[in-house]
Symmetry: C2
Subunit: 685 residues, 2 copies
């Protein structure tokens, strides 16, 4: 027996994180970078293209604004990175945006951030997979021809992987991410070498096309609006930057410092790649249009609906490496893979955030249990369903999906930064050490600037993108917000209802005696076991109860009862309608009426079977009776199980389920830190 | 309190059938006829047309065989009616085909009949509704233009009606059925008067069309085969004849005699109507073709795909009464209504047969409970789903659906009649009274002829229709048969496993002591109640158990435990992975290991809530723990419910559910008779 339970436990210890073995599973920076940065780094695969797309509305001449827009994005990136470095230092326990907003700005701000993040996770999946499909499609045409199908297939694949519980290993992330980063850097370097040193002319496949401007000669306010819209689209490069601030506990010591340097490294890489790709796009004359079918002209003729506009990164790679060359294929594959990994991070983040929200009673409490397979499964399926729906509605078109994407990100950026300002204010009110104060004032300044800048971007995004799709994201946020507040209200109401009054004794009508009833339909092993157990309980009275639905059967039961000389008295209820539930309920109620201070204990023999279809064949009336009895005050219901042979199968299945590995374990870091956070334990009643 | 439970009871007594009030609810013949005969009578709406359709394959000249085929159908009808009159006398308790075959030919024959009947019920719905739609369509063109949609809509409507529990009142059936019968008779009489007395020429709308024979000049074997196929199609008129034999207990006394006369009356009416319609069709020159689009010619040109071939009964009515005349419309409406009522009888029969099969453990046992809403609902939904699927696949084309229809009917006719022969043989072996013997020998002769004739028809149907669709019905039967035998095998296996050994005491390892554990997460009213109840049980040991998933919460719990001075010792289990289930299971197992002869009683405080969505928010981990505990031997699990305010809503809902009225109550007749039948009580172990 001890062997049987030890084996899964030992397997478990090998995987799950126990306080005494934590050191080994913590992430070194070189692994933490790919784990946390696959989302923000992968966004350079689509962000540069989006900038050019929007600019093309005003014609190809507007492309010369792109370096300025890139510069604005870079400044924003540095601001955000600098701001989050403050978060990381202030919340070494992993203060995600939700917790920062919740702690410093109150539950409404926290819930707003949470809604924004949930929407964002859905969009991360939808956008990353759509973009991954487009990048893969530049090397494998079949994929682009069946875009929606392939995108949904990838979603299904990721969902199944996560439902089965893949372990998020550092290596899984490290290889494609580093290949991707290296590929992009080689491309930038080789492109620069060919351009500046060899003086080659590199031509993107779209270099010879013309762009028909939708609004020729835009100027003044309209032009500013367009530039702001292009900037908004470029901000897609910033999505996922906040991930590290959630994952500080997963870093090696010194945690905060390591997290902050990783954050800086990530920002540096992202910015370099973003600018490099924009630069190469300019150098190789990439032409992108919002509606390539009609706005891209080849010798004056529109290209038509069959034309597939490849992503900027792939066009640039084609110009630099040559179409179909080894490096081109490797880069396309790595790009797609990194984008799929970025989608996978949402599969980890969504249920994790769900469990934190459940802890604060905004979501069903069962999501709270960490590593509970069912809880995670629900979250994963919800995420996958919503993402697949979006992919299907938007035809797996990353450009259209990105319109929805940025709102949520900047809502949480802004609120998180405002929260940080409050955080520093609060600490400054009590801190006396001038050195620390100086530090705090500096941090506060950075966060204030971050809050201001990200808030500005949020307004820009809302204004320029609202009608383009941002309203969909806002609607999603409102739905999440409303649902979660309703759940919280429900829990609060119930908590008030069941709160124990003070004083040592509470239940005013304390029952004085117990009347036990064993339900009997036939004499078989489960019944005999239930009778034996009931006798052991030594309650005040004990009787067996049967319902007469078939006279012959009842007579047989009575006869056998006598023949076996069973010492418990057998009572038979008549049932003119051949029901079982109602006579039992009525009888129990009549007992309670006779002596209201007595409790009634109903003991039900139950079979335990192994397969779901066997459940359909057994115990249904017992289950329904149990359900009804629970509504009757003063009654307790006892199941005495009898394990059929087939129940072994179910037992094994349950054990397997328990050995399941929740996704996102690596990035979540050790367990015990979170439990001690004041923001949580303080809220429990 | 007594008022509250009495009201639903009184309502119930008014509806359900209690032995002391049975007389009033029994059916007089004038009501029994429409209740039981809507199915067989309504089939004259499609059977005559099917005969003409098949004959048309050999050209219009083959139509002169139709009186001979009608004659064969009449002879068959009389045979079947005469045979079933014997059934009715032999099984006054309502021996349906299943029970006759089961009792006399053994369980395999019984199960075959049951499978055939289940398939038949599905087809009754599909065929009757499709035909009803076609008849309605002859007056309302919209309906025919959206045939499948309308047919499915009617199925959905009937399903919802039956799920809500309409009471099958005699009047509901009586009015349309009598209007239909009267309408057909008026039509026949008026047509005969116009034809013979007034010497009017009556022309059906298709009278001037020509039929392009698919096989001109068929002769010899091919012609015989075609005639047999036409006869098979005509046999559709016999479907539903057996219904009365199921419903003998619903008749007024003398039950068997009244049932037998009703059967004879029904046979007479059906035959007259069938022949009358065939006669009128010949007189008014109705032309029907299997493929009207290409085989019906108007002035030598095919009519094409848009042409709608109206049913014979409607064409005849148009010829006799005039198109759009009041009587024409009334007859079309009554025909459609009777056909829908015929479909409704399947909604009553299917779950009823299901409950009988469940009694014999061929179907999940919970279907057994008579009047159990859930059981009936499952049957109704299954029936509706299968019928809707068939309607959709076959485009609501009654002609194509009828190809599937007759097989099941004749399988059960034949086996039932063979069973009756056995029945008489058995009784003749012991009966000594010469008068009774004479009677029995006469009955046996009738049933023998019936068995022979219906068996012959079954072979004819199988041979002539197998490739036309009968294989689908056979496949359905095989699926039902296999499923039901598998269920029976499962029940038998479990019954063997749990059978109590003989002798007064059985459980060899009888537990000697009980160790009680109350699960505690927080101190609130449900916990306090569970503790109070547990103390009352006076088991050998009692402790409270909590799992430490959050150190702060656990400390708060310990403190409050002390402060309240609760006399039960509190044990806290550590949970390094923050699970709840596993530590509790492990602890219980360790208790069992220490003292294997002790039983463990786990007491769980539970909230009872009122809405399904509240269930999602509560008790999930308790439920899962309960599920796991049931697999652990030697454990009993007690729920101590705490009713939240919202649970009142659920209580009311449960009560409403119990007041629900199962469909088919009228035709089933009183309850207590069936219970006494030897075929059932003999089979229970």
């Amino acid at each position: 027996m001890s062997k049987l339970t030890d084996v899964p436990k030992r397997i478990l210890i090998g995987r799950a994180l126990r306080s005494d073995r934590l050191g080994e599973t913590l992430l070194p920076k070189r692994i933490a970078l790919p784990v946390f940065a696959s989302d923000p780094l992968s966004s350079v695969a689509y962000a540069p293209g989006e900038v050019l797309l929007v600019l093309s509305v005003a014609g190809v001449s507007a492309y010369h604004f792109s370096p300025w827009i890139a510069l604005a994005v870079v400044v924003l990136m540095f601001t955000v990175v600098a701001s989050y470095r403050q978060n990381v230092h202030a919340y070494p326990s992993g203060g995600g945006d939700y917790e920062v907003a919740n702690t410093n700005l109150g539950p409404k701000a926290g819930l707003t951030v949470a809604s924004a993040l949930l929407v964002d996770y859905v969009l991360t999946v939808a956008v990353s997979i759509s973009s991954g499909i487009e990048n893969l499609g530049s090397a494998v045409p079949f994929v682009v021809e069946h875009k929606v199908l392939c995108a949904v297939a990838v979603i299904v694949l990721l969902t199944l992987m996560n439902l089965r519980g893949v372990k998020e290993s550092g290596k899984l992330f490290a290889i494609p991410t580093y290949v991707f980063v290296a590929g992009v850097f080689i491309m930038i370097a080789w492109g620069a070498y060919r351009g500046f040193v060899l003086d080659d002319t590199m031509k993107a496949p779209t270099a010879d096309f013309e762009i028909k401007a939708e609004h020729e000669g835009l100027a003044g306010f309209a032009m500013v609006f367009l530039l702001l819209r292009a900037f908004s689209s470029g901000c897609a490069a910033l999505t996922g930057v906040e991930a590290i601030s959630n994952g500080v506990p997963a870093f090696r010591k010194p945690k905060s410092k390591n997290a902050a340097s990783t954050l800086a490294l990530m920002g540096g890489l992202a910015v370099t790649m973003f600018c490099g790709i924009i630069g190469l796009a300019m150098a190789t004359n990439v032409h992108m249009a919002e509606n390539p079918a009609k706005d891209l002209l080849d010798n004056g003729a529109a290209l038509g609906g069959d034309y597939v506009q490849n992503p900027v990164i792939s066009q640039v790679a084609e110009a630099v490496f040559g179409n179909g060359s080894f490096l081109f294929i490797v880069l396309a594959a790595a790009t797609a893979l990194v984008l799929f990994l970025a989608a996978n991070t949402a599969y980890n983040g969504f249920p994790l955030l769900g469990s934190i929200l459940a802890q604060d009673r905004y979501l069903p409490r069962q999501l709270h249990t960490r590593g509970d397979r069912l809880a995670f499964s629900n979250g994963i399926v919800l995420l996958a369903g919503a993402a697949a729906l979006l992919v299907w509605i938007y035809g797996a078109d990353s450009t259209r999906l990105i319109q929805l994407y940025i709102v949520g990100v900047f809502v949480s950026f802004t609120l998180s930064q405002i929260g940080m300002v409050r955080h520093w204010n609060r600490h400054l009110a009590t801190e006396r050490d001038p050195g620390k104060r100086r530090h705090m004032i500096r941090s506060r300044a950075i966060n204030t600037f971050g809050a201001f800048f990200t808030g500005l971007v949020l307004i820009v995004v809302l204004v320029t993108k609202f009608t383009h799709g941002a309203w969909v994201a806002l609607l999603g946020m409102v739905i999440f917000y409303a649902t979660m507040s309703a759940i919280r209200r429900h829990y609060d109401r119930v908590a008030g209802e069941i709160a124990a009054a003070d004083g040592p004794s509470d239940d005013s009508v304390r029952p004085s005696r117990v009347h036990s009833i064993v339900l009997v339909s036939k004499i078989h092993k489960p019944t005999l076991r239930a009778l034996a157990f009931a006798k052991l309980m030594r309650t005040d009275t004990l009787e067996a109860l049967s319902v007469n639905v078939d006279a012959a059967e009842t007579k047989a039961l009575r006869d056998e009862w006598e023949r076996r000389n069973i010492s418990v008295p057998l009572k038979v209820l008549d049932s003119p309608y051949r029901e079982v539930t109602r006579p039992v309920i009525d009888y129990v109620k009549s007992l309670r009426r006779e002596s209201p201070r007595d409790a009634v204990s109903v003991i039900i023999p139950e079979y335990v079977v192994g397969h779901w279809y066997e459940h359909l064949l057994h115990n249904q009336s017992a289950l329904r009776l149990k359900g009804r009895l629970l509504f009757t005050p003063g009654v307790m219901v006892t199941s005495v199980p009898y394990q059929l042979e087939s129940s072994e199968a179910a037992k094994k299945r349950a054990r397997r389920r328990q050995e399941w590995n929740a996704p996102g374990a690596v990035r979540r870091g050790p367990v015990e830190k979170r439990a001690k956070e004041p923001s949580k334990s303080g809220k429990k009643g």
